[in-house]
Symmetry: C2
Subunit: 222 residues, 2 copies
Amino acid sequence: MQAGKTTIAIIGGTGALGAGLARHLARAGHAIVIGSRSAEKADAAARALAVSGGTVKPRGAGNADAAKAAEIVFVTVPWANHAAILDEIAPHVAGKLVVDTTVPLVPPRVARVQMPPEGSAALTAQKRLGTGVRVVSAFHNVAAHKLQKDEAIDCDVLIFGDDPKDREAVLELAKAAGLRGIHAGPLANSVAGEALTSVLIGINRTYKVDGAGIRITAIATT
Amino acid sequence: MQAGKTTIAIIGGTGALGAGLARHLARAGHAIVIGSRSAEKADAAARALAVSGGTVKPRGAGNADAAKAAEIVFVTVPWANHAAILDEIAPHVAGKLVVDTTVPLVPPRVARVQMPPEGSAALTAQKRLGTGVRVVSAFHNVAAHKLQKDEAIDCDVLIFGDDPKDREAVLELAKAAGLRGIHAGPLANSVAGEALTSVLIGINRTYKVDGAGIRITAIATT
């Protein structure tokens, strides 16, 4: 995959994490399609994004149309909408790389790990989309508000997926967004990244900090 | 809890992690009782430990006797023996602090997260021991061979437990062993630490390193 040549849909791109990722990926030269249930909201988010730079003008669309138009589809939606939105994009992602960033947070106790029966959001997504879709999960632990404001982010991106080539593609996108990606094993391991998000939310509260993250030690990579 | 005044049983103290923890905790002045299914093996491990320093001579015992003698009971056993050993110590740990370090690794695929139906080893332990036992889980991600050899360990210790006071007691023990402990929330969050172990085993293989660990960023504590 060549940087700057990929059309990437950001489903849920009107949210904090989606908008942050879209901003960085657009700036890296990718063609961004913001997806939302409301095409109008998606358009507005795309217009806001355009001012942050990038060679290809971002555009907005409904979720299904955004997924249809893209080669790589990011899913950055709240857990409560996860299943419904996966069903909405499912007819348009066969054979494509779907990058699920969803963490199964169940309010009000978001600092408590509460995994679904499938074991994780990522395994839920794979089950829902079917084996013909290449699901990778990542970006669970990145503080969305920092990504939006171009603050330095002291956090690695754990990347889970059954195919190392697909993980590598996401690792390159993380790098384009200024983040260090780490091969973290099969999709079955995604529970580690997802559960860590609740742990980090709790740490932010306990230690009164803003945006605790994780770093993997002992490996030299950028 | 005053350092140097606690009797600590290390169930499975003949294994790599147990022996490493015992070594550091003995040196910090705690009275160590190594527990093993074989009291003879436990004795031998305690004698080996004695040469590493400490003011109170470590001793060995069968698992049940070790648990009976201690105020704090570490469980450092392979997943395959976890249930049986918990049942063995259960009659002797009512009201005590049990620190479970067990990761539910299922050979041969130890780099793949495979959680039990209860959600984690820690939740399995709490269920098995009953609510009258104060279960905390920790030390999942520390490289046992480094702990045994007094190598510097670039890894935080995530500490899970429902009572902050119990977590704090384990945090002090981690500090005594030269490690930074982190309050990581309720026992339900233990899946994050346990799953990370499989992720780190995979990272060691993928990146050809020895003893990858994790650090929590953005918090200033020692």
